[in-house]
Symmetry: C2
Subunit: 343 residues, 2 copies
């Protein structure tokens, strides 16, 4: 219940001026003070259990040592690893991350953004895929530092850390091709996400290269429900007799699983399915999912590194770092079925 010791208390005990005490306690300035004096100050600080008030420091130095991380939904399993990667790079540098969700809503994105600039965060990491009139552009105009992770920065010149999505899709299509599939459906995410675009484009390009029939269907969201709904439509209405589907991400693929099951079709016997991301436990699904592994943790690390470089050294080390991805073959893909029952 005793009030925390301030630097003035430390100075008094050490018999020096608060300014001197401050210098003695800071790495950057401790060279300016006599070694013996500095020792006395440190001793006093330890004795009093002095903990610097970072709010006061922040006021003076106009930095809060916190980074705002804006994600659509922490419940989406790809984000926890990203967040951990971010944190693992931030913490050793003395920064903390405050994570906020937008639920995909543009309005709450703006809301939390404002709330965070009010908090004087030193920078932002955007993991939201929204590409429309997102706040990124506004942030840039306000001179706010930021980076993107797992998405591209559509026009806004912020650095970005992304996976090599195009290559992952290409691998997926080739894998299916080798298994004999010649008619493949792609269930793409919402067009507002930059990832949806590049994956869809890579898909059509790969199909063209291999001279196989590829059709893309757009899901309204990256969710299990959306995947199921779209797959229902593919099966019931599209008239496209696909023997395999490459989904925009694992959630959509899971929705495809559900739809298949509802239609009495088996995976991979009747239809092969490939996901994207290799989310945690993807290997425990029924069947274990073939999917493209994206290094989410490392993506987080890289994005944090990009941001901190920008903040502390005021330099852009890179405008874009792309990390390799890998196709993980499990049990949701198999030889193309001869004929499949369409309604």
């Amino acid at each position: 219940m005793t009030p925390r010791a301030t630097i003035a208390d430390v100075a008094r005990v050490a018999g020096v001026h608060p300014g001197t005490a401050s210098r003695a306690l800071n790495r950057k300035t401790e060279g300016q003070v006599n070694t013996e004096t500095a020792g006395r100050v440190r001793a006093a600080a330890k004795q009093l259990g002095y903990i610097p008030n970072s709010i006061a420091r922040g006021l003076r130095t106009s930095s809060s040592m916190t980074i705002g991380v804006i994600i659509p939904d922490l419940t989406n399993p790809i984000f926890p690893p990203i967040v951990r990667g971010i944190d693992s790079h931030l913490a050793p540098h003395g920064y903390s991350a405050v994570i906020v969700n937008t639920d995909g809503s543009d309005a709450t994105e703006r809301l939390v953004f404002e709330s965070l600039v009010q908090r004087q965060v030193d920078g932002f990491i955007f993991a939201t895929g929204h590409s429309g009139h997102s706040i990124a552009g506004e942030a840039y105009e306000r001179g706010i530092r930021a980076v993107m992770v797992n998405r591209d920065s559509r026009g806004v010149p912020f650095p970005a850390a992304v996976g090599d999505d195009a290559h992952g899709i290409r691998q997926s299509v080739e894998h299916l091709h080798q298994l004999g599939h010649r008619r493949i459906a792609h269930i793409a995410g919402p067009p507002t996400f930059s990832t949806s675009q590049v994956r869809a484009e890579a898909f059509v390009a790969a199909c063209a290269d291999l001279r196989i029939q590829g059709e893309v269907f757009r899901a309204p969201a990256y969710s299990v429900e959306a995947g199921q709904t779209v797959m229902d439509a593919v099966l019931e209405q599209s008239g496209f007799p696909a023997t395999a589907v490459v989904a925009g991400n694992d959630l959509l693929a899971l929705g495809v699983y559900h739809s298949l099951r509802m239609h009495g079709l088996r995976c991979p016997d009747d239809v092969s399915v490939i996901g994207f991301n290799d989310m945690p436990f993807a290997g425990d699904f029924q069947p274990p999912m073939t999917t493209v592994r994206t290094p989410h943790f490392e993506l987080g690390v890289e994005s944090a590194r990009l941001l901190l470089n920008q903040i502390e050294n005021s330099v852009l080390t890179a405008l874009r770092v792309v990390l390799p991805v890998d196709l993980i073959v499990r049990a949701s893909t198999g030889p193309a079925a001869e004929n499949i029952a369409f309604s």
Copy 2:
């Protein structure tokens, strides 16, 4: 690039003193200023795009409007829902959460704790299960406000929001009993977690009540690997011919799945398995998992509510809120097998 407007700027434009501007802009004090004047101030604020510097405010009011949330590992799928629940209650009240991971390490727990008190967080939410010489006791002695979520507060008089674990276990055992199981193994989590204790105790109590054989085995961690290792031992060395296992949580149950598969045993045909938590996608596993649903989101909400009550009203509304749980029966449980192959 123009420096942000301060309250002094607003005051100048509105032709009033900064103190007056401050009062005009704050809900609690706007009654102290003339309505017409307040309007002028608000207009000026809007015109300048004034955003209060919450660091400066925090220095004066000695509150940061942030809450520290300490969890073992964000990657564990039960925590994202809890965090979202916390956030959903905090945000409308103007608070932000800063989430840190400890990786179960006592040392880093202490580290992040210190880092957060230095950040002047207004309170803590502990989701770490560690019960030994945790920092909770120290926090209490320092007069720091905190609550526990998903764990009990062993001796430390902090409020806690928990699920009715004992009841969940009882339901599980009864469910198995009805299916004809008479020899059940319980794979408990590490004894340092309060949840492990109450679940294990509830298990032996339930078995005693129903007069069936129950044996408990301890896992060194709440992880898939630990679950597999322990189940391996149960099958190969224990000599306990269980026809069913109730796992301490879903991760352990997943490990049991793996072990079973490795031993050529099928679930639920040979051995029934029940998890705990109903983590996301538990219904998509192979087989879909029977498990106890814990309302994690609501647990987060309740813990945040408990903490905010303590902070803002300085009252303890409750020392302990326990939320109901439910057994979700899926496909990992079935009638007891006649005889099961043990090595």
